[in-house]
């Protein structure tokens, strides 16, 4: 349990105790102190706990564990453990190029204004699809993967800026930065999750820890 979740749990437990006092002794609201207690217990603490709870849920929704808790995501989780450096997510996950606890979110959030908000709205759509509709197989991105998401971390790094393939033609670097030449679609880093071949792969570890 993260620090913020522990704090929310404490606030909610305090609220339950305070509200419990009022439920068992509602007559105390006849006094001035009781009225203040009622205001704090029935309005301030529940709103505070709920607000903090929403924040904790949003924070939790960025975790790898959270993304992989839907069974349709299992093969995508396994693809992080493929023992093959040509698998883009695997090399990022295994070599610590992304935080392992936030691996999915790091690459699949939208690093633009309101990107997080858009990701959350899509998350609600995913829950709807999961229970009411049918998720596509394999899962497809809403739009072609934008280089912006890669460049959020790689821009300015020596490997990217001085990379031989990136500099062999002056136009290439410009096209990558302008998203005209897709990192994952131009034939350079095109092995991504590749879940259809996952059953034949060998793995670094058995499961995500």
């Amino acid at each position: 349990m993260s620090g913020s979740t522990t704090l929310v749990v404490l606030v909610i437990l305090t609220a339950i105790v305070l509200v419990g006092i009022l439920v068992f002794r509602p007559t105390i609201t006849a006094t001035r102190g009781g009225k203040i207690l009622a205001f704090v217990a029935l309005l301030v603490f529940p709103l505070l706990g709920s607000g903090m709870g929403i924040k904790a849920h949003i924070e939790h929704s960025t975790s790898t564990k959270f993304c992989l808790s839907c069974h349709v995501m299992e093969p995508y989780g396994k693809s992080l453990l493929v023992d093959d450096r040509s698998y883009l997510p695997a090399v990022h996950y295994q070599y610590g190029m992304v935080s392992r606890d936030h691996a999915c979110f790091t690459c699949h959030t939208d690093y633009a204004m309101f990107g997080d908000m858009r990701a959350k709205m899509r998350g609600l759509k995913h829950v709807y699809k999961y229970y009411i509709g049918t998720p596509s197989d394999p899962i497809k991105l809403y739009s072609p993967y934008n280089n912006r998401e890669c460049l959020h971390c790689h821009l300015g790094t020596r490997a990217f800026e001085e990379g031989e393939a990136h500099n062999k033609d002056p136009q290439v670097m410009m096209q990558i930065k302008n998203n005209q030449k897709g990192c994952t679609t131009s034939g350079c880093h095109n092995i991504v999750h590749n879940v259809k071949d996952i059953k034949d792969a060998t793995f670094w570890k058995d499961k995500i820890e």
Binding site: A15, V23, P26, T29, H57, F66, C70
Partner: protein, 65 residues
């Protein structure tokens, strides 16, 4: 024998019970590792707390009237 509760006290009791139910649901949803937990948090916990708060506010207004 205890005195019967006033209207305000009755409403506070109802409001308190709704809020406790909502808080318990929110607490459980925070310990549940699944995307559905957020929906349970909002649409069950949040709604129960919302109704409880409205009941409390109504109790204040109605008694004052």
């Amino acid at each position: 024998m205890s005195e019967p509760l006033t209207k305000l006290e009755r409403w506070i009791k109802i409001s308190g019970l709704l809020i406790i139910a909502g808080l318990v649901v929110e607490l459980i949803s925070l310990r549940w590792d699944h995307p559905t937990s957020f929906l349970v948090f909002i649409f069950t916990g949040g709604v129960l707390i919302g109704i409880g708060i409205l009941a409390y506010l109504y109790s204040i207004v109605s008694v004052r009237n």
